[in-house]
Symmetry: C2
Subunit: 329 residues, 2 copies
């Protein structure tokens, strides 16, 4: 099993990416890690003793965070990200991951690895935090701004398969993000999508509201990228602002500081629980291979955990399951 | 100055609605309150001494919370809500307010009072809470599910005029709710709306994100009803869940209960600050008169404060200002 890592993408690249790859290689001896990037820099960060299951593929170029995605992927064929995508396309790696430019990574998935037949829009899948720590798998949270009802149907099918294969959750409940739970609620998009979802081979539980996502009102949340992103940022912003204000309350007097000492550890856990970025890599589903997006600020732990995620996806035949289900329709 | 009140709409109707009207009449002797509803019930709640500036208009019928809006307004011509609307239409009241069925009230505004010339979609205007207690005026948060760019432009103009006239805020900053602050972000709707807003006679500050609304990143927030409602419910849900969890943390041990005693008063203030329902009546803008929606759970204080809001709107010529600006285009 071979997993390619874009060594040059991310805020802490290449150092923490390479160190994460190193630890993943030690931890998972049955995985061969292919580090793609500047050989010299990679070697510096790997140190003297390179594990036998690490290979290096040299790449001259890098796609930066401000590069225009489509242009960058088309022109920078020798970049670490595009070359990692080529390894997946050519069967020299079963999966790739990158903490670099999100748009460029999606474009790499679309143009280099290629869409699955029958899929119109690949979706970037994210895990939203929930109070019970199980999470809600959400697609899409901002990759595709204008979705059609058929896209939401495909999101639902891909999300259900992911949740079953990757999280071992049988018959995951699929909810459609909407402004109310009644069947006829919503805009033209959700009304049309509702009808499609009702007859799809999934466990559709109807419309769900943004206010209950933290309570895990469904296992797979389907929405267009615009509404999904608005929801995500409203949740992040509210949690962030409240925690900041609570911290101010706690530091306002000596007594309140004493009070803080008592409850702060638990509140800090709560803060951590709410942190969207804690929740691993995001797979791009609907393409002919496995591409995982790691957060830009990914550290050693994040890289290692995404390698583990990629390994599980390979072992559970995620891509062929999705391909089979989509072609069945 | 005459303000009509639907005495029969709302969770606490008619008792608290009538009591609120009574207090408003005492407080604002220059306003004549016209209570519309069942005369006998209204008289019961008014008590023996009816202030001279309260009139009663009898209505036989009531539109209930579960009535289908358009059907109800068309068929129940003798309902308290529709009759209050007729008073505004016929110039017998300058404004009306109701805590009843929201959809029916919007329909009353649209079909009974009537749209302003040039306005395609009247908008229900809400005040979102902010940490500085000033609030962000948002339109629309769920009245119209599918908006066109031109609707968002009209929202921006109406919201700016409302904010200036009603809150005395000169040159209010108008923001377009979007997934990022850069100009080209968003879906087809926001991209087209952005171009219209740039050339409009308003102080357009560009795209704003849901995460910063609590910090008052703009004074007038423009969005389609679907996205706006998703944002609102994501904020409400996150705040509600966090406060509940924090309460659980505080009650988990004797020590934490002591800690709670120290900081709870301030946290309760924060909770209250975040409460969307605390923020008064919501005007329906873009119609030929003033219609205010009070929250279903409105109490005496809420009714009184909405009467005051309506009075200010009448005094500041809100409707004619909007009509003039819209016809100028």
């Amino acid at each position: 099993m071979r997993i390619a890592i874009d060594a040059m993408g991310g805020d802490h690249a290449p150092s923490l990416i390479v160190k994460g790859a190193y630890e993943a290689a030690i931890d998972m001896p049955d995985v061969t890690i292919v580090l793609v990037g500047d050989t010299e820099q990679i070697k510096t960060h790997l140190g003297a003793k390179i594990p036998p299951n690490i290979e290096i593929v040299h790449a001259d170029d890098v796609i930066g965070p401000d590069d225009e995605p489509v242009k960058a992927v088309r022109r920078k064929k020798g970049s670490s990200m595009v070359m990692a995508g080529q390894l997946v396309r050519d069967g020299q790696a079963e999966a790739m991951l990158s903490a670099g430019n999100t748009g460029a990574l999606m474009t790499t998935g679309l143009l280099v690895v290629g869409r699955l037949e029958g899929i119109e829009r690949p979706a970037l899948v994210s895990m939203l935090p929930t109070m019970d720590d199980v999470g809600v798998l959400a697609l899409d949270l901002g990759a595709n701004m204008d979705a059609k009802p058929e896209h939401l149907l495909q999101y639902a099918i891909m999300g259900s398969i992911y949740r079953t294969r990757m999280n071992g959750q049988n018959n995951p409940r699929v909810g459609l993000l909407n402004v109310g739970t009644e069947a006829m609620k919503g805009n033209e998009l959700t009304k049309a999508a509702y009808d499609l979802l009702e007859t799809a081979p999934i466990h559709f539980i109807g419309n769900v509201e943004a206010r209950d996502v933290l309570l895990r009102n469904c296992d797979v949340l389907v929405c267009d990228g615009f509404a999904g992103n608005i929801m995500l940022k409203a949740m992040e912003g509210t949690a962030g602002t409240l925690f900041k204000t609570i911290r101010d309350v706690f530091t306002s007097s000596l007594l309140s500081k004493l009070a803080a000492a008592v409850v702060m550890p638990k509140l800090r856990l709560l803060r951590k629980k709410m942190d969207y970025n804690e929740h691993g890599g995001a797979p791009l589903l609907g393409i002919k291979g496995l591409v995982f997006k790691c957060h830009g600020s990914s550290d050693v732990k994040a890289i290692k955990s995404t390698v583990r995620q990629a390994k599980l996806a390979i072992e559970s035949n995620l891509v062929s399951s999705i391909a089979a289900e989509i072609s069945r329709k």
